[in-house]
Symmetry: D3
Subunit: 244 residues, 6 copies
C-alpha cells in the first residue's frame, strides 16, 4: 500500500485530540487537533433569536470561522485590518453553520441562539473539517448548559444526530483521507465530506483542482470520507463521555 | 411520471435561450435564460496578468457574480451601498471562476487575463448554474477575439473542453432537474453539478437543506445533473455555431 | 447644416426605444435605449416610508443609479468590490430622485415608498438622462400597480406631470442634442436638462468642460434641451399607451 | 422693494470677509465669511502629479470639501466615523475642483499638484459658494508660492481668469441673492452660479426644490448671480492686493 | 538657565489664548491656542443618553478629536477618505473624554448628553493637551446653557472641579514644559499630564521615545506638568469670567 | 495584610506560565498566562522593512493585538465583521509595539521586520500586560532564528534589555498588583507600567477611573509595578533558558 510522507496509509486519519472544555468563559468549548491543525471552538449560548426568527418558537445555530494571522507558514493580514472578510472565510463560516443545523432540532432548542466560533490557532490542512468536528462537541456542551439552566426543555432531544467532517482527495492518482497542507496543495481533486453519526451525507463538496474526475473516483472518495467520519464520531463521543 | 408546477417532467430543463454577443462593448458576451432566470455574461480581455502570476507564461481567468437589487421578488440592498460583498456572492464568484479555469489551458492563453462578469438581471432559481453556462459562451468569444488580434497563438487550443452547470434537487422525495425558485426553496436536498462537455465532473456541491441524504439519492441526483449538462452543452455549441 | 458622425442633425435625438414591463419581478419596469445606451429601470413599491417621514401622510420616491462593470469600453471595478460608492454614482442617484419627486404629489401617494433602480447595462453617453426618462415609465406603472391594490387612492392624481431629460452640449462651437460618448468627451460645454411634460425646468446643470460660456450659448442649449425633452415625452406616452 | 429677514435687499450680498493667509502651514489659505458661513480654505502645493497624468507636462488642481460636525445647528456624525463620504460631500468637492480648474492653465502650472481643502467651520447657507470664492484666493497664493520657488515658470500665466460663486433662489416668488440657511430651506427654486472675473459661466446648477420654473425665472436668477459674482470678484482682488 | 528655540525658559508655557463662544451654533465653544497650535472645541448638548445608559438617571460626556488635513506641515489624507479612523485619533478622543468625565458629576448632569468636538485647525505640538484645556471651557458653557433651559437642576453642581492638560518632556537631558512640534519630535521622553484645578492627577501618560527613564526624571516631569496645569487653570477661569 | 478574593496579598502576582515555542509555524512564539488571562504571542520574521524605512539600515518591530470573540464572559462581535478596528484595539497594539521597540537596537537588527501578533484566547484582566510580557519571549526567539540564518549579524546585540509589564491599581484605597477583571472593574485608579529588566520605565499610563489621585498614591503604584515587573523578568528569563 502507498505510504504517505507522514507514514500513514491512504485511509488513515492524522492523530486526533479533542480537549473538551478548554475555555472557562464559554458555555461549551473544544480545542481540537487533526495533526498540526489546531482549532479552538467555543459555543456561546444566549436567550432569544435574531429578529427575523422571533416568535416562531425556534432556535438558531450559526458559526463564524477565522484564522489567526500566523496560523499558517506565511503571516497573512488580519481581516479586521483589511476591513472586510474574505470570500473563503465567509464560505467556510456558512458551511460550518449549515453542517451543525443539519443535526439540530431548532424547535426543541426553543428561542435560544448558539453561536459557534471556530478560530484556527495553527493550520496544516483540513481546518474547516476540524472546525466542524470540534464545533459539534462545543455545541453539545452548550445545549447541555442550557438544559441545566432550564432554558431548554429537560426532555427535548435537541441533537438528532452527531456530525463530523473530513477532507479526502486524489494525489498521484491515489484517493487519500485527511490531507495535511503538503498533500492538499498537490491534490488533483479535493473533497470535503460532512457526515452524520448515522452515516448520512450533510454536505459533499468536490472540486477538480487539477483534473476533472469521473464517477468511480467520486465514489472512492466518498467511501473514504464516510469511513473517516465514522472514526471521528468515535473521538467525539469519547470526548463527550458518551458511549459509541 | 410526476408533473411539475410548470408542466415539466422531473428530468426536463426549463426553456434555454442564449443571446450571444448581446453587448457591443465586451470582447465576448451572452445573455442567457434558464426560464425566468436571466444572466448577462460579459468577458473582458486584457493583456497582462495579476502581479502574482507575472512571468510564468500563463494567463488568468476569473469571474465576478452579482445580482441587480430588483432581480428578485423582494428588492435587496445593493452590496455597493452596504459597503461589502456578502458571503453568497463571494462563494458563487469563486465557483464560476474555478469552473471556467477547469477547461482553460492557461499556458495556451499566454499572459492575458479574462474577467467574466455575470450579472443576474432577473432571478428565478439556478442563477449560478445559468451564469456558468453563459459564461462559457462569453469566454469562448473573448478567446477568439484575442486570437484574431494575435494576443493568443493561432494554433493554441486554449479551451480544452466546454463546461456547463445545472441544479438538481429532491422535492417530496423525487429527484428533479433545474429547479426554479419555488422548487428550490422546498427542496430537501439541493445540488449544483458542474460538468465538462465530455461528461467529467468539475464540481459537485450537495447540501442537505432539510434532511441528510444517502448514497443512492446522491447517485440519482448526479445522473440527472450529468444528463442536464449534456443538453446545455448542445445549447452552447449551437449558440457558438459549432457542431455538437 | 452640420452633420454628425452618426449622420444626425444637431437637433436630432438618437433612436429611442422603451421596452415597458421588461421585468416580471418589479412593480414597474422599462428597458430604455438612447442609441447604444441601455438602462434597465425597475420600480419597487412597498408600503410604509422611511422612519424620518413616518406619520406625515406622505410617500417617498428615491432612486439608485449604477453601472455594470463592463457597460463601458474599458471594464471598471465594481463599487461593491471597492467597498464604496463613487462621487459620480451618488451625484446621479440624487439627481434622478429629485427629478422624479418634482412630478410626484407625495400626499396623493400616501405612506408608500417607491425605489427606482436604474442599472446601466451598456453605456454610450447620456446614461443619466436615459435613466430619468426610463425611470418615469417604471414609476408610472408602479403607481398604477399600487392603485389597483388600493394602496393608493383611486382618484388621487399622484403624477402631476411627466418628466424627461436629455444632454446637450457645444462641440466645435455648434450646440448639439443628445450626445453619444464620442461627442460628450469632446464637448466644450456640457449640459443636462430635466424638463416636465408641460415644458418647465426641473433641473439645469451646465458645466464648462473646456471653455466658460456666455448667456447666448446657454440660451441655445436650453432651447435644444426643451425641444428634445418634448420628443422624449411623446416616446414615454406612447410606451405607456397614453395619448400625447 | 422686498426686505429680507436680515434687512438686505434681494440683490444684496451678506457681509463678506476674506482673511488671507490664515494658516501658517499651508502654501495658500483664506478664512472666508459670507455672513454666518465661515469656511477655511487651504491650498497645498506639491511637486508631481497623480500617476494617470504623469509625463504630459500638465499640473493638477483638485479640492476636498467637508464640514465640521457642529458647523450646523444640529450636530451631525463625522464622515470618518461613518466610514464613508456622503453623496453631498462628494458632489460639492467635485464642483469646487471643476470651478477652479476652469481658470487654471494646467500646462503653465507644470507637473505640480495643488489640493484645496475647504473645511466649513460654521454653516449658514451657501457653504459651497463661499468655498469656491475663498478657494480661489488660497489657490492664487499657492501658485505664487510655487513661482517664488521656481516650481512654476516666472512668466507663465497660470490663472487665466478669477472665479467666484454665489447662490440665488426664488422665495415667495421673489428672486434673491446669497441665501442664508433660513431662506435656502424655503426656496422654491435654488441655483448656484459659478462665474469668472470676466463674467462667463463656469457652472450653472438650478434645481426646482418646490416648483418647476420657467425661462424668465431662470433668466432673473442668472442675472442676480452674475452681478453677485462680480462683487465677490472685487472682494477677492482686494484680499489679494490686486487692482480690480 | 537653558533657553529654548522660541526664547522660553524650560518651565514656561507658550502664549495661551482662549476665544470663548467662537461658534454661534454650539451650546458651548472655545478656540484655544497654545502658541501655533489652534483647536476649535464645540460642545453639543442634547437631551437623553445613549441606550446603554438609559434609565440610570445619569448623563454622558464624550469627545471626538480630529485634525484638518492641512493642519500640519505636510498635508495628510482625510480619515473620511481613508474610510477609517486611525489609532492615534481614537486614542486621543478616548483620552479627552476620560479627562472631562473625571470632573463631571453625571448624576447632577441628569439624563443629558454632551459631545465635545475638538478639531485641530493648526498643529504645532501639544494638540491633545490644548484640546482638553479648551474642551473644559466649552463644556462649562454647555452645562450652563442646559441649566438656563432647566434641563439641568438649578442647584446641581455638575462640574466638581476644572481640568487642564499639558505636555512635558526631556530634551537633551533637560525637562521642559509645553513642547512645540520641533521639541516634541526630539524628546527622549514625552509625557502628557492631565490635572484638576485642585492639583490632582486624572491621567499620566509617559513614554520613553528614545531612552527608558528613571524615577527622578519622572518626578521632575510631573512637577513641571502640575505647575503648567495650574497656570492653564487660571487661563480657563479668566476665559469663563470666574475668579481663581 | 488585606487579602484578595483569590487569596493573594496585594503585592503578589497571579500564577504565571509561559509556554515558549507553542507554535510550530512562527519564528518565535509563547502562550502566556497571568491567571485566567491567556495570550498567544507569535513573532513573524521577514527580510526587508516597510517602504518608509527602506535604505536606512534599520529594522522594524511592530505588534498587533486582538481578542477572540468569546475570550470574555460575554461574546463580542468580531472586528473583521464590524469592518473596523476599535479604538481600544488600536491603542493596545500601539502600546505593545512601543514597549518592544524600547529594548530593540534597530540598527543591530538590520533591514528585517518582526511582527508580533498577540491574540487573547481568554481574558481575565491585564491582557495588554500579559501580551507585552509574552511578546518579549516570542521576539527574543525570532531574533535568534534570524541570527541562526545569518539575517542578523552573529555578534550584534539586538536586544539591549528585556521588557515586561503589569497592571496596578487602587481598590478600596489599597494599592494592588496584577488585577484580574473583578478587581480591575472596581479600581478607583488603574495603571499599566512597562519596565525594562534593568528597572527603567518604558511607559507609565495611569488613569483615574473613579477618583483623581495624588502624588503619594502614584508613587505607591509605581513601586508595586516595578517590583512586579522584576518578577516577570525572572519568568521570562527562565522560559528562555537564560540566567537571571
Amino acid at each position: 500500500m502507498t505510504q504517505r510522507a507522514d507514514g500513514r496509509t491512504p485511509d488513515q486519519l492524522r492523530p486526533i485530540t479533542i480537549e473538551r472544555g478548554w475555555s472557562s468563559q464559554a458555555e461549551g468549548s473544544a480545542l481540537i487537533s487533526f495533526g498540526g491543525t489546531k482549532v479552538l471552538c467555543t459555543a456561546s449560548f444566549t436567550n432569544g433569536v435574531p429578529r427575523w426568527l422571533t416568535g416562531q418558537g425556534k432556535g438558531w445555530v450559526t458559526a463564524e470561522y477565522a484564522m489567526l494571522p500566523r496560523a499558517t507558514n506565511d503571516r497573512s493580514q488580519r481581516e479586521s485590518v483589511k476591513g472586510k472578510i474574505g470570500g473563503r472565510t465567509h464560505e467556510i463560516s456558512r458551511l460550518i453553520g449549515r453542517a451543525l443545523r443539519a443535526v439540530v432540532d431548532t424547535k426543541a432548542l426553543g428561542e435560544n441562539t448558539i453561536v459557534i466560533d471556530c478560530d484556527v490557532l495553527q493550520a496544516d490542512g483540513g481546518t474547516r473539517t476540524a472546525a466542524i468536528t470540534g464545533a459539534y462537541v462545543a455545541l453539545a456542551d452548550a445545549i447541555e448548559w442550557g438544559r441545566q439552566r432550564k432554558f431548554v426543555g429537560q426532555k427535548s432531544r435537541v441533537l438528532i444526530d452527531s456530525v463530523a467532517a473530513v477532507s479526502v482527495g486524489i494525489i498521484d492518482g491515489v484517493p487519500m483521507l485527511d490531507l495535511p497542507y503538503v498533500e492538499d496543495s498537490r491534490a488533483e481533486t479535493d473533497m470535503n465530506v460532512v457526515v452524520t453519526g448515522r452515516g448520512l451525507f450533510v454536505e459533499v463538496q468536490g472540486t477538480a483542482e487539477r483534473a476533472p474526475f469521473d464517477k468511480s473516483e467520486l465514489d472512492a472518495l466518498l467511501e473514504l470520507g464516510v469511513n473517516g467520519c465514522a472514526e471521528l464520531r468515535d473521538h467525539q463521543l469519547a470526548a463527550l463521555g458518551q458511549e459509541a
